[in-house]
């Protein structure tokens, strides 16, 4: 158990350090959400929705968490391939999922930069007070959401590997998931069929829980759904990783870029 925890911690910390040194990744997870936050502030101001400024700030941060999860997890196995570290990782005794899952959680954790950055930016530049209705719940909902997104990242990372142009797919999925999960636009404005899609996405429930903690409401039901979906993603991710590993071993294609 201690070994598993140690492996988890080391993999998570290592990937965090690696991602933090990437200028492109830092731009994606810090600067891009600030640009979206600025756009949302001015848009809501122009639409005379001053009460929604903290909403804009928080939403831009949550959008950033999804972006860093998507771009980080989408390429997590490919990057190991390019670096030549995938073979030793697969050959190592621990199950593959115990190595990949902390890496995808790290990509979601980088999203904390987005959230912290946009809230701080809103406070300093636009003077938006950070008045949270349930601050304790807020602190609880954030890590739960991040772990659930990390689990979703595991599914993304293990399925994108079969798609040669995984980064192109990641480029495409940023906006639709923002829309479908109600990251900034309420789901009530979207067509009814979108709601079914949103239910199976953990970010929907995670974002809902974070908002309930920040603006009032009961975050527990959404948080519960987030945990349930996170566990389901882990199971799906495990199956995908096994398929990938078996195929790659059979075809001797593990190190092929």
């Amino acid at each position: 158990m201690i070994r598993v925890a140690r492996l988890f911690g080391v993999s998570w910390a290592f990937n965090m350090k690696q991602l933090t040194r990437s200028g492109l990744f830092i731009f994606t997870s810090v600067v891009e959400p600030l640009i979206f936050a600025t756009m949302a502030y001015y848009l809501f101001k122009a639409g005379h929705r001053p009460g929604t400024l903290l909403y804009a700030s928080l939403s831009a941060g949550l959008m950033g968490i999804w972006t860093s999860t998507l771009f980080g997890s989408g390429g997590v196995i490919s990057w190991q391939r390019w670096q030549g570290t995938l073979e030793p990782l697969v050959a190592a005794p621990p199950p593959m999922i115990l190595i990949i899952f902390p890496l995808t959680i790290a990509t979601a954790t980088i999203g904390l930069y987005s959230l912290g950055g946009t809230l701080l930016y809103g406070r300093i530049v636009f003077g938006i007070p950070l008045d949270l209705v349930h601050p304790v719940w807020f602190v609880i909902t954030i890590p739960v959401t991040i772990v659930a997104l990390g689990a979703l990242g595991l599914v993304i990372g293990s399925s994108f590997i079969l798609y040669r142009n995984a980064n192109a797919l990641a480029n495409m999925l940023e906006f639709p998931v923002w829309l479908v999960t109600g990251a900034i636009v309420p789901l009530s404005l979207l067509p009814g069929w979108v709601h079914y899609l949103s239910w199976v996405l953990a970010p929907t429930w995670g974002f809902r829980a974070v908002r309930a903690a920040a603006f009032g409401g009961d975050p527990l039901p959404a948080l519960g759904m987030c945990v349930v979906l996170g566990i389901a993603y882990l199971a799906i991710g495990q199956v995908f990783i096994q398929i990938f590993e078996t195929r790659a071993r059979e075809r001797a294609a593990l190190s092929l870029v």
């Binding site: 492109l24 994606t28 001015y42 848009l43 101001k45 122009a46 639409g47 929705r49 192109a168 480029n171």
Partner: protein, 262 residues
Amino acid sequence: MRNALRIFTIGGVLSYRALFSWQSPTYYIPTMLGHPLFQVLFFAYLGRFSNVRNDSFFVVGNAVQVCAMAGVYGMAMTIGGERWTQTLSPLLASPANRFALFLGRALPQIANGFVVSAFGFLVGRLFLNFHPPASAIAPLALVVLVSTASCTAFGLVIGALGLRLRDVFTVANPAYFILLLFCGVNVPLYALPQWMQTVASGLPLTHGIAAARAVAAGAPLSSVDGLIGKELAVGACYAVLAYVLLRIFEVEGRRRASLELI
């Protein structure tokens, strides 16, 4: 002159074909069509929620801006990528006319950007409340073409910077999002602070988007000729700046023997 023309056309087409992944539908469709599709939809719904303007405002703004997918990223990869693929040294060792060499690389991206923008408008027409009069289509196409050319000149500057930087995307990504924020794509210019409006007037797409909105609403082309002229002037300035930067970086790269550094 004939040689320069050959380098301009054939060289440009070959450089576009050298973006190997872009030849594949599995890359092109998600990046060049999927991303614009969802960008237009996302901002149109955000616009509905914010109560600022109607769908048409957001469709036109985003459909014009998505030309930057080709204009900015395409140019960044075409010019900046020469170093990555180790073709920069032989290219600069050749006696080819530099103006024809680099401007030729912009031509296919202008065509590609136009297609991407047209797709953005189609998305607005099919899925959103955007119904321009049929008489507006030809003037709109002209405005989009001018805007795409101007944006590609801006992309040429980004590509030039890519000759110096380790990763061209550290400039290309911010450039794309700066256009999204400053150029009145989603936030009306009057709602931005004065300094942002000043910056916007010197960026590509700002005047083009304003012209496109007027034309899509049924205004005659003659009423926006001033805006089109400004868009062309801004594009020309970026083209000259890109040429100067490319020459400076070429000389610097030779002096410091850094052309092949990745």
